[in-house]
Subunit: 312 residues, 2 copies
Amino acid sequence: MSMTNPTPPSINRASDNGALLKQDMGARARVIEHTIDTLLPLTTGGDARLIEAMRYATLGGGKRLRGYLAIVTASLFGVPESQSARVAASVEMLHAYSLVHDDLPAMDDDDMRRGQPSTHRKFDEATAILAGDALQTKAFEILAASQTHTDANVRIDLISAFAEASGAAGMVGGQMIDMEGEGRALPLEEVRHLHALKTGCLIRYSAESGAILGQASPDLRRRLRSYGANIGAAFQIADDVLDATATAEELGKTAGKDEASGKSTFVALLGIEGAKAEALRVTEEAIADLGPFGAQADRLRDLAYYVIERKN
Amino acid sequence: MSMTNPTPPSINRASDNGALLKQDMGARARVIEHTIDTLLPLTTGGDARLIEAMRYATLGGGKRLRGYLAIVTASLFGVPESQSARVAASVEMLHAYSLVHDDLPAMDDDDMRRGQPSTHRKFDEATAILAGDALQTKAFEILAASQTHTDANVRIDLISAFAEASGAAGMVGGQMIDMEGEGRALPLEEVRHLHALKTGCLIRYSAESGAILGQASPDLRRRLRSYGANIGAAFQIADDVLDATATAEELGKTAGKDEASGKSTFVALLGIEGAKAEALRVTEEAIADLGPFGAQADRLRDLAYYVIERKN
């Protein structure tokens, strides 16, 4: 090995980074799955069906992008996985509750989710409503427990940021704007705002949560928050592109739904190539946010590219 | 005034206690209403309709039993009303979310609530689902904020107890058992258990919250928790009696619904007189829990009787 020809910094992606990332995501997904499994034990009492529906909605798959972000950003600050996996489980439960309610007939009316019947199809509507409600409660309960962090101030910080990201001024607010905007052509800035709320806030929180758990400096916390917001935006644009180009089999859910329902998407506004360029632009902003972390944040750089290159 | 003939302890209720209690409940209800109003400010952005629905579901009436309990139990420990009114607003928001979701067509399918159209009738189903979701988030957000208590450990304590009372092992679990039990005759013990979860847990938490805010001794906290559980049970039995005996006009909601839907109620199991006797029995247990508080807890004693004597 020659010292005069060093390996280029991994921000120039080597061809096998994608494979290593997928391997790492898979390993962390299993940790998250196991953590959720432990936090939602099966019961035999009157609430058995409710717990079963909560487990159905949260276990058994998904990329665990949000949970992965929580674990990887926490690892930058040396936070033990026993703590960050709880935050990951909590954010995945919140994400799952939002999908369960979003799939309801009165909302998006989706029969399929990850290639399986959605929760209200597998169980019934009432059970799906209650399972979603209880998953949200559980997500907050997990953050409040002392196992998540010994310092109560850190737990409070997590809970406040989580509530901000997921409530009326965040995810649920975005879902509302999305429902109201259906069948109406929204300008680009409104579409951006809608997605920043609907999917962006929770992904942003996931990246920020590692900095909160790690009691990072305000600057590093702000950078991870911005990184999360940017890959959240990239994720949504890539989702629009996938909806317009992939098959239902590839997606594990109904394809071409956006166009059919007259939703304002990045693809409708910018065309497929324009949307791809926009996704790349925000991905590069996400990469720029990671500057001060150096090579330690390579996994997060790979993840930023993965988000716009994934096939489902 | 003769010292040899002291006034009997006010546990023997004077005839005007009911009027004083109602006056106090009214005054505190206005404080709670004002606090909710401040915590849910109207907006003009894309989330305006969501906030409007959240306000519709939480403002404009109700007895505020849960919020009242939070304020009165906190006052036993000298907690400022600026803190306890936030806990009261939080628990009333959580209660409101549960009613909004409970009224949905897929659940109890109720068109009326407090004499007004239920939230999904006033707005639409999707908005009602989302408003309920965001109200739950907001309830946790309020507890996490430093205005609720300066000590983060106290806020964590509130959040943990709140999550326990309202999630799958509490309120939502009770709603699930209630849905599953419909049209099926449940034995008395199961009806008791169902209501302890469905309505009891949140009323119990409300009474306990004052002890948490006031950093009470474990014994006093346990006593207020038990008091809350007992008046929660009394409240539900009285509700069953009211449903069987009052008119829709008196109730502000559909009357006689329990019998029509084949629900197992205390009235169905014990008869009207038997149910009334049972309500009195648990009310007296609630009074016994208050022993160590002496005359300071007279308002809570009056409240225990009010719960079983109310007309709506």
